[in-house]
């Protein structure tokens, strides 16, 4: 399989959020700023890559009927690891992502890729797939975080470019849904054109 193609499919064509619509909870909740979106995206990428590697390594060992619990254990372990590491070295981002770090466990993307890809493919392909999917997730999250931050708090990556409060609604819950809705519509349109 062409590894480059394997990598890029996660970025756009099969973007986990905008096209596959997996992992919507963190997408909506943590994208109040671009930094948060990026932090969450990278944390998820780490978990995705590591769990993909492990699962593809162990795929011959894990029989079908214990598949799901085994995956959950592996995923939960890596989530806890990234949780601890962020708490130690990136306390500010950890604080603002809060409960959504442990919730990567139930992010359907991670389990979804394990099921759909890692348990059928070799280690290299699975790593590349995890990386592509993870970065696609991070990309979508960062874009959404940027839009909400620009409109809502008149700043980008924490840098304020204008005085005032911005359109507060975009930082609040309704803004998250609406921005997400329009982004997805744009993505659908772009993909159909191709």
């Amino acid at each position: 399989m062409n590894q480059w193609k394997n990598f890029t499919k996660g970025l756009i064509k099969e973007n986990p959020i905008l096209v596959l619509v997996l992992g919507t909870c963190p997408t909506l909740a943590v994208t109040t700023s671009a930094v948060n979106g990026l932090g969450m995206g990278l944390a998820t990428t780490f978990v995705l890559v590591m769990s993909n590697i492990f699962i593809s390594l162990l795929k011959n060992l894990i029989s079908d009927n214990i598949r799901i619990p085994a995956y959950i254990v592996i995923i939960a372990a890596f989530v806890t690891i990234i949780d601890l590491v962020m708490q130690a070295y990136l306390p500010d981002i950890h604080e603002s992502l809060g409960i959504f770090i442990p919730l990567i466990v139930v992010n359907c993307i991670v389990l979804g890729r394990a099921e759909a890809f890692a348990n059928k493919n070799n280690v290299l392909s699975s790593t590349v797939d995890g990386l592509g999917m993870g970065l696609g997730f991070a990309l979508a999250l960062t874009v959404m975080g940027s839009i909400r931050e620009i409109l809502g708090s008149l700043s980008i990556f924490g840098y304020k470019f204008a005085e005032g409060d911005g359109i507060l609604i975009f930082v609040l819950a309704p803004g998250a849904f609406i921005v997400f809705g329009f982004l997805m519509a744009i993505a659908q349109k772009l993909i159909k054109k191709k």
């Binding site: 109040t32 700023s33 162990l58 029989s63 214990i66 085994a70 708490q87 604080e95 507060l168």
Partner: protein, 184 residues
């Protein structure tokens, strides 16, 4: 089958334990640093600090943490780590400094998950909401929002967060008064 599952759990357990041990100290250091910074912010100018001690809170099973601050060997104020569990998104943690008269010197937010742009303004880096408490004595300054008949200007559109903030300060003051035997 069960062996495989057990094996995976064991490997993951060992890995987790290892990471936990490596990150334990940095995490503790980060948290201590944060607390120390907050104490310096709310009780400026002290040169030594007592060991922290816990004081029972009124109306709640959890206790508050006190840090007595000294300058040239004399007690000059106390930083109290206080909390409220009914913020808009649950728990908030506040550090508040009292001088020897029981006046609030300054307050700082340690932890909150309030709405960005609204309740978030309780953080003194985001708005001057918390500045209104500085120099006030809770015996004469009623620690409830104006809507509830008090004297605190609530954050616009974030009454729940503002109330939680006031409650946490009041909780700290009640404990402080009880601990220090009235005010000197």
């Amino acid at each position: 089958m069960i062996i495989v599952l057990g094996l995976i759990t064991a490997i993951m357990g060992v890995l987790l334990g290892y990471v936990y041990n490596v990150t334990k100290d940095p995490i503790a250091a980060v948290q201590k640093e944060k607390i120390n910074k907050a104490i310096q912010e709310v009780v400026p100018g002290f040169d030594s600090l007592s060991e922290s001690y816990r004081v029972a809170a009124l109306n709640d099973p959890d206790s508050l943490t006190f840090f007595d601050c000294y300058k040239n060997g004399e007690w000059m104020g106390t930083a109290v780590e206080t909390f409220d569990k009914n913020g808009f998104s649950g728990l908030i943690k506040i550090m508040v400094g009292f001088n020897t008269n029981g006046d609030i010197i300054k307050t700082a937010t340690l932890k909150h998950s309030e709405t960005p742009g609204l309740g978030e303004k309780m953080d003194n880096k985001k708005s001057d909401f918390s500045a209104q408490f500085s120099g006030k004595n809770p015996d004469t300054f009623k620690l409830t929002v104006k809507k509830d008949g008090g004297e605190v200007d609530a954050i616009t559109a974030a009454t729940i967060s503002s109330r939680a903030y006031c409650r946490s300060l009041d909780r700290a003051y009640q404990a402080f008064k009880a601990q220090k035997g009235g005010v000197q």
